[in-house]
Every structure is written in structure tokens, then in C-alpha cells.
């Protein structure tokens, strides 16, 4: 069974419906055991935040959700990551198809060295979009709250924009191909505070239609944007090195106000390390 055979059924989307679920996920880079035994369910149309100290494997796990770790030859994933009932790491699953349905926004804005218009159109074209391209570009830029700033210079290079604008362009690029899930890997870490606020507002808008998973270093950001929060921690492994694992996963207000684990308490109250 391939991913493309299981079309989502939008009418039955309930807030609690599970989109991605992981079972005993372990991630290795060569001999290095980066992430250990993660079990979690990600709910549709919600913002889920991954928080935790550096090296806890939160970005690594995120990149497994659209198989971007395939680009690293030594990376290996054990366990199961189910998306809409299909195992993402099944042999028959095509990583290209996975990435069409699970989009990604990166830590550093990475617009293509092309015009603003072509940055949006590229993904749609390669995915066989046959509708009105102008309309799609406009709609995507509007939803990324960028349209008013760039509508007069669509032919300019995407690299001519400011950092915050570039990141919103990357978000527009991601939503133009209509993914079901958008992964955001510390999308605001390279942005100034005002741009950060705009991107956060955008996330509230976008979750009406997309499921968003965001990795962030910034706990305030997690508490502002996320419905659900997962706290990861890193622990020294026997024989040197460190591995990351999921400590606690709950509604955001519970994680920040009434965490069950001591290490979560320490981390969210800033008494960490």
C-alpha cells in the first residue's frame, strides 16, 4: 500500500483525529543512537511544538516525518511512523510523494535563486498543477501574509527580500502545494522579533487548514502558538555520546503549568542544566 492510495477525508476531520503517529521510533546516524523509543500521536489541525535542549533529537525526529533524513546516507530509522494509516518507511512508500503531502519550512530561510513568482510556482509545476498559476501564487502569498509587500515585484529574486519576508515566502511556497502537514524547523530562529510575531500569527491562521509541527528553542513561542507540546531531553549514553528521548507530551498549558516530570518542570521554569 502506498501513501497515495489513502486519500484523506476532509469531512471527518475532528480536532482529535490523529494524522501522524509514531511507534517505538529509534533514529541512528551510523553507530550513533540519536533518538530513542518515541511514541506519540499528532492531532490534525493543531499546532504541536517540540521543545527541549540542544541535541535532544527534536529536529532529527521532525526531519523523519517527511523523510528528509534520507539525504544523509548514514541515517537509519527503526520503528514505525504512520501517516494517514500508512507506514512512511515502508519500502513501497515514495519519499517524493511523502514530501508533497508533508511540507517543510526550514530554520534558515532558503528561497530558491529564482523570482518570487517562480519560488511559489516551482513546487506547483513539478507536482503537475494545471490550474491558474497566477491565482495560485496570489492566493499562497496572501495566506502567507506577504502579498501586499511583494505584489508589485513578483519578478524580483526571492533573495532580494528581507529575512522575515524570505521566511514567509518559504511558508507560501510550502502551502502552495497543499500539503496536509507543515513541518517547521525553528522557523523564527533567524528572524527579528517583529517578523517572528508575524510568522506566529500566521501559524494561528494556517492551522485552520493544515496540521503544523514546529520545533522551537523558544519556550514563550511554544506557549503562544502550540496546542500540544512535547518535551524532549538528552541523556548521556553508556559508552559516550548522548541520545534524545521524549519526556512528556501533553496539552501546552499542562506542560507549562502542571508538568508531570521533574525535568520538564526544570526546563520550562528555566532551571535547566
Amino acid at each position: 500500500m502506498t501513501v497515495s492510495n489513502t486519500q484523506p477525508n476532509p469531512s471527518s476531520a475532528a480536532t482529535s483525529e490523529v494524522v501522524i503517529s509514531t511507534e517505538k521510533v529509534n533514529i541512528f546516524y551510523g553507530a550513533f543512537h540519536a533518538v530513542r523509543d518515541v511514541y506519540m500521536d499528532i492531532a490534525r489541525n493543531q499546532v504541536t511544538a517540540f521543545i527541549g535542549p540542544s541535541g535532544c533529537g527534536k529536529s532529527t525526529l521532525l526531519r523523519c516525518f517527511n523523510r528528509l533524513n534520507d539525504l544523509i546516507p548514514s541515517a537509519r530509522v527503526d520503528g514505525r511512523i504512520m501517516f494517514e494509516g500508512t507506514d512512511l518507511y515502508n519500502k513501497q512508500t515514495d519519499p517524493v510523494e511523502v514530501r508533497r503531502r508533508i511540507g517543510m519550512v526550514f530554520q534558515k530561510p532558503n528561497p530558491f535563486p529564482k523570482s518570487i513568482y517562480d519560488n511559489i510556482a516551482f513546487g506547483a509545476r513539478i507536482n503537475g498543477f494545471k490550474g491558474n498559476m497566477d491565482e495560485l501564487v496570489e492566493r499562497s502569498l496572501k495566506r502567507a501574509a506577504l502579498w501586499d509587500e511583494v505584489k508589485d515585484k513578483l519578478k524580483q529574486s526571492g533573495l532580494s527580500l528581507s529575512g522575515g519576508q524570505q521566511q514567509r515566502l518559504c511558508i507560501a511556497r510550502a502551502i502552495a502545494i497543499q500539503p496536509e502537514v507543515i513541518l517547521m524547523d525553528e522557523p523564527c530562529s533567524a528572524l527579528d522579533p517583529i517578523s517572528t510575531l508575524r510568522v506566529e500569527d500566521l501559524m494561528h491562521e494556517l492551522k485552520q487548514q493544515f496540521t503544523i509541527i514546529i520545533v522551537t528553542h523558544n519556550m514563550q513561542q511554544a506557549s503562544r502558538v502550540a496546542d500540544m507540546t512535547a518535551f524532549f531531553n538528552a541523556e548521556a549514553a553508556e559508552g559516550g555520546g548522548r541520545f534524545g528521548y521524549l519526556v512528556e507530551y501533553d496539552r501546552t498549558q499542562n506542560i507549562f503549568n502542571a508538568p508531570q516530570q521533574k525535568s520538564t518542570q526544570d526546563y520550562v521554569s528555566g532551571r535547566f542544566g
Binding site: 497515495s4 486519500q7 515514495d94 517524493v96 510523494e97 506547483a124 513539478i126 503537475g128 490550474g131 495560485l136
Partner: protein
């Protein structure tokens, strides 16, 4: 929005399969080209060997030790050409190494303001790109008339030394060697200068801080530290000199004989091929290819050695 999902899902399986197929073909194609480039050297060697085979079968290794090149009787041996190739390259190195390294030091230190150094580096780059046939042309019409009186003086005063024992003519080993030396000096300058400039500044500062003068620093600290880079440069230049065709063919006189005097005409493997190939036939062609094969192995050995030295130098860095 819905149009996108519908259209893409109806057409997606087909177009995705095509995209995946294109991807595979593309991968295979690039791989094939890369493999081809990696092994093209083997193909060149095999082709030369095959075309040279009649001569190899006829003369064997005696080809290297025989000093006869006689198309009339169809007897060939390339010893004079091998000798000429090596000797002309040695003359070139004797000229180019001290001068080239000297200039590299001169350009890597702040003897000249940076404003002048940059254009000079550019001119040197340009001279490394000037075709050898132009060097040959310049050698014939400018250098040879200019140095002739000097060569005559050397012959008259030092003629008792065998290497200066014959009267200089307008073509000869020494003329070819000088032009070769001028030709390869830009290579030596460029690579040696890179090696010197890329040394960590702490080396120089440390040495100067101990009270060493500028030249003590250069000679005892900087040059030894950059030595493997400089040797690599010299080896690359030697490879170029050994295989250089035009300057030799135009200036060496193309005489298939071994003479102790550097003022006598001689010939090199490359000049031999350039001179005789177009009009040769039969066993002569095979023999020329055989000589070419020897030249190739000679330069390969030098170049691989240079490669190894330079790689080591980069690792130390």
C-alpha cells in the same frame, strides 16, 4: 484549492511514475559519464598501445636504447629523443626554479604595495595561458637573435667544457630549454606563491618575534614550511616541460642525435611526433605512437608524484 488536489491526485500516479523513471535514467546517465571520465585515461593508454603494437612487437624495449631513426630502412629507436626530452626539461628547470621561486617570494612578501601585486599576479596568470606556439614564435624571432652573442661569448671562453664545445647555431637544445623555462615559470610562480601566502600568519609573527630578520624568516621558516607545495609546483612544471611540443619543435632543431654540447640541435619525443607524424606511414606511425606512449608514461609518473606531494601538503595545512 480543491482543483489542485483533484487534478494532482488523478494525474499524480502516472506523472509521478514518469518523474521517478526520469530520475533513475538521469542518475544512471550522470553515473555513466563520471565513470567514463574516470577511466578515459585507461582507454587512451589502451588505444595508444594497440596502435603502437607493431612497433612494440618489432623493437621491444630495445626501442628505448637504440639511437637510430631511419624511415628508409624502417629501423627506429627513440633514445636521442628521450635524452633530448629529459635534458631540455632539466635546462628549463635550472632556469625556472630559482627565478620562479624568487619571484614567488617577492610577490608573497610586501616588497610591493598590494595595488601593484594584484595586476602582476593577473599578468602571470595570463602568461600561463598564452599558447605555447606563441612562445615558440617569440623564441624564434626575439629570443634567438637576442641571446646569440651571449652564447658565442660562452662558447669562446668556456668552449673547453664539453657542454659548450660546439658553436651555437640558431636552433639547439639550449634555445629550446630557455623558452621552455620561461614558459613554465608562471606555473611555478603561481603555485609557489599560493603555498607561501596560505601559510598561517602565526609562523611569520612567531619568527619575527624571536628577533629574526625578514630574510631569515623567509629562508629558515617560510620556505621550509611551504616546501612540499613548492616541490609540487616544480613537479607539475616538469610534467608540462616534458610534454611540451611546440616550443621544442620550433626551437630545438629536430636533429635525432645525442650530443654532449647543449649548443647542438637535438630533438624531443614530442617534437619528433609533431614533425614526422603527418607524413609518416606504416611502421613509422607505430613507432611514433610507441614514442608517444613512453612520453605519456614519463609524464604520468611525474604528475602522479606531484599529485601525491600536493595532497600531502594540503593535508598538513
Amino acid at each position: 484549492m480543491s482543483s489542485f488536489t483533484n487534478e494532482s491526485s488523478s494525474g499524480s500516479n502516472g506523472s509521478l511514475a514518469i518523474a521517478r523513471l526520469i530520475d533513475r535514467i538521469f542518475f544512471g546517465l550522470t553515473c555513466a559519464f563520471a565513470v567514463f571520465i574516470a577511466v578515459i585515461l585507461l582507454w587512451i593508454t589502451a588505444q595508444l598501445f594497440q596502435a603502437a603494437y607493431p612497433a612494440i612487437a618489432q623493437f621491444g624495449l630495445g626501442f628505448i636504447t637504440t639511437a637510430r631513426w631511419n624511415p628508409v630502412e624502417d629501423i627506429y629507436g627513440a633514445l636521442p629523443q628521450i635524452y633530448g626530452t629529459i635534458v631540455s626539461s632539466i635546462i628549463a628547470l635550472l632556469l625556472a626554479v630559482p627565478l620562479g621561486v624568487g619571484v614567488a617570494v617577492f610577490l608573497s612578501e610586501d616588497f610591493l604595495p598590494a595595488k601593484i601585486r594584484t595586476p602582476i599576479a593577473f599578468v602571470i596568470e595570463l602568461l600561463a595561458a598564452v599558447p605555447s606556439v606563441v612562445y615558440g614564435l617569440w623564441g624564434i624571432f626575439v629570443l634567438v637573435p637576442f641571446i646569440r652573442p651571449f652564447l658565442n661569448v660562452i662558447h669562446q671562453t668556456l668552449g673547453w667544457i664539453p657542454i659548450f664545445s660546439t658553436a651555437p647555431d640558431i636552433r639547439g637544445m639550449v634555445q629550446a630549454g630557455i623558452v621552455l623555462g620561461i614558459m613554465i615559470s608562471p606555473i611555478i610562480i603561481a603555485i609557489s606563491r599560493d603555498a607561501l601566502v596560505s601559510l598561517p600568519p602565526q609562523l611569520r609573527q612567531g619568527s619575527l618575534a624571536l628577533g629574526a630578520t625578514r630574510w631569515e624568516t623567509i629562508l629558515k621558516v617560510l620556505l621550509p614550511a611551504a616546501l612540499s607545495g613548492i616541490i609540487g609546483a616544480v613537479m607539475l612544471a616538469l610534467g608540462r616541460a616534458l610534454g611540451e611540443t611546440m616550443a621544442a619543435a620550433m626551437l630545438i632543431g629536430n636533429a635525432p642525435r645525442i650530443s654532449a654540447s647543449v649548443f647542438d640541435p637535438a630533438s624531443t619525443i614530442a617534437s619528433l611526433i609533431a614533425n614526422q607524424f603527418a607524413e609518416a606511414s606504416g611502421l613509422q606511425v607505430s613507432s611514433l605512437l610507441y614514442a608517444g606512449l613512453i612520453l605519456m608514461l614519463l609524464t604520468l609518473a611525474v604528475n602522479v608524484l606531484a599529485e601525491v606531494i600536493i595532497t600531502r601538503f594540503q593535508q598538513i595545512e
